[in-house]
């Protein structure tokens, strides 16, 4: 079966030089594509998780009593929200990367302790995290002050009230906006190309640089993979949103 598919595309490439699906019939290129998809997945999942954690912690700190803490969070948001993610990636990798210590795994070559993948994760997580802080803040502000007072008057600490009462309610309000931002984050992982992170776009660009006839085929694959990936994310988030609906509370958001 797979053999005949490979044969079909090999023949197609010979007949028509504009449709060279080399990554289907050439195992080396297939491996590059699969590696690329894997790195894209990894980068997406790790950045989604970190950015949500950053958002939750940031939104908590925004309610802190200390003005210094609040200004630091505000400064962070302004910096990451108001600069392009591509510039951030390059700044982190090329500028900050210069100052990070190095280590030598083989006793011969020096390597920076934070790799380009590491910088991509840091930069993209903080970028999306800045938006998540604002998204969660909006959700928190939608929780009535009186609900928080009830938690307080039952003896809950500020942290307990946040974790067990405010956040579960705020989260439900935040989900549609969070959904949007995470979709954007997954799409923005392609910009890690600029610092040579071997994700899908990087691999596909390399392939069509090596085999210029495969350019169209690479573009097609790129769209298919991202539509599928983001499709799964949106599907999952929408299901989650529906599952979180509380009887008799709000419209249910979905």
């Amino acid at each position: 079966m797979w053999d005949s598919i490979q044969k079909f595309f090999r023949d197609l490439a010979e007949r028509d030089a504009t449709w060279n699906f080399i990554y289907i019939y050439d195992d080396n290129e297939l491996e590059r594509v699969l590696d690329g998809i894997w790195v894209t997945l990894e980068l997406s999942v790790v950045c989604v998780v970190f950015s949500v954690v950053i958002g939750l912690v940031g939104a908590w700190l925004q309610g802190a009593r200390s003005r210094v803490v609040r200004s630091v969070v505000q400064g962070y948001i302004q910096f990451f929200r108001n600069t392009p993610p591509l510039v951030q990636l390059m700044f982190f990798y090329f500028a900050l990367g210069q100052f990070t210590p190095t280590y030598s795994p083989d006793g011969y070559l020096q390597q920076p302790i934070i790799s380009n993948v590491g910088w991509a994760i840091i930069s993209l997580s903080f970028f999306a995290g800045a938006f998540n802080v604002e998204i969660f803040r909006a959700g928190i502000e939608a929780v009535p002050q009186s609900t928080q007072e009830a938690a307080e008057s039952l003896g809950m600490s500020r942290l307990q009230a946040y974790v067990y009462v405010v956040l579960p309610l705020a989260f439900r309000v935040s989900l549609p906006a969070l959904n949007n931002n995470l979709v954007n984050l997954v799409k923005t992982t392609t910009q890690a190309l600029a610092i040579a992170v071997p994700e899908l776009l990087y691999q596909l660009v390399s392939i069509y640089n090596d085999y210029s006839t495969s350019q169209n085929a690479c573009m097609v694959l790129m769209f298919i993979v991202y539509i599928t990936l983001v499709g799964f994310l949106v599907f999952g988030m929408n299901r989650w949103e529906r599952r979180m609906v509380i009887p008799g509370y709000g419209g249910g958001g979905g």
């Binding site: 009535p144 009186s146 609900t147 007072e149 009830a150 938690a151 307080e152 008057s153 039952l154 003896g155 809950m156 600490s157 307990q160 067990y164 009462v165 579960p168 309610l169 439900r172 509380i246 009887p247 008799g248 509370y249």
Partner: protein, 254 residues
């Protein structure tokens, strides 16, 4: 007196004592020197026109609103003390709000169980037994697994009372707890409060239910524009009010 209201305060001293309490919101002075004592097991009602500071007064007792000057003590503990251990205070003082303020994402049973488990670190199984008993006590057997949004206002308010009682407080504060209810459901909530009072629970109520106040209260305080205008046991208060402001208020309402 049954053991459900068997508080820890046995002294002949007042369980709650207010002395010359002042409180302003910005330029508006809401409480202009309020003083009175509540003895253990006593039921007091605070009545008065809207905006007379009744709710503010009761909210000061469990430190939801900080006071500007004067003194409030609960079981000898000064509430207006910056080093106040709010948790200790809130273990002693339960509060029920006008808008119920249940946690909409938790079932009735979970609402009742949450604070003892989280705040008092009690064993879940023993809390559950107590919570189910309290739900029976407020006549909501069978509603344990309902979400607040699935309950009527009166039912929600009774869950809120059970939730407060689960912390085994010595004093209960009721802030206009029937003001948001339909006339038909007011009664079921009042019955619950009356039972509590009969069991010897110390209760402070802000209410517009004059008939109820007359029936249940040991002492009535009439506030207007931030001061206590007149007070006395219900019989003398309602029938022999001396101050013209009290007479006018009672004339409008009775």
């Amino acid at each position: 007196m049954t053991d459900t209201a068997n508080g820890h305060w046995t002294s002949a001293q007042p369980i709650v004592s207010l002395k010359d309490v002042h409180k302003s919101f910005g330029d508006l002075e809401v409480l202009k020197g309020i003083s009175f004592d509540v003895m253990k097991g006593e039921v007091i009602c605070i009545i008065g026109p809207s905006g007379s500071g009744k709710s503010t007064l009761i909210r000061c007792v469990n430190a939801l609103n900080p006071i500007d000057s004067g003194s409030i003590t609960v079981e000898g503990q000064e509430v207006n003390d910056p080093r106040l251990d709010k948790l200790e205070l809130r273990k002693k003082v339960g509060m029920v709000f006008q808008q119920y303020n249940l946690f909409p994402h938790r079932t009735a049973l979970e609402n009742v169980m949450m604070a003892p488990v989280l705040v008092l670190k009690e064993d879940k199984a023993s809390v559950e037994g107590r919570a189910r008993a309290l739900i029976r006590k407020v006549r909501l057997e069978g509603k344990e697994d309902s979400f607040p949004g699935e309950l009527s206002g009166g039912q929600q308010q009774r869950v809120a009372i059970a939730r407060s009682l689960a912390m085994q407080p010595d004093v209960m504060l009721f802030d206009e707890v029937t003001a948001a209810l339909d006339p038909e459901t007011v009664k079921e909530v009042l019955v619950t409060i009356r039972e509590l009072a009969e069991e010897g629970m110390t209760c402070m109520l802000v209410t517009h239910e004059m008939g109820f106040a007359r029936e249940i209260a040991d002492h009535i305080y009439f506030t207007d524009r931030g001061v206590i205008v007149e007070h006395g046991p219900p019989a003398t208060f309602f029938d022999e009010a001396k101050d013209p402001r009290t007479q006018e208020f009672l004339g409008q309402i009775l």
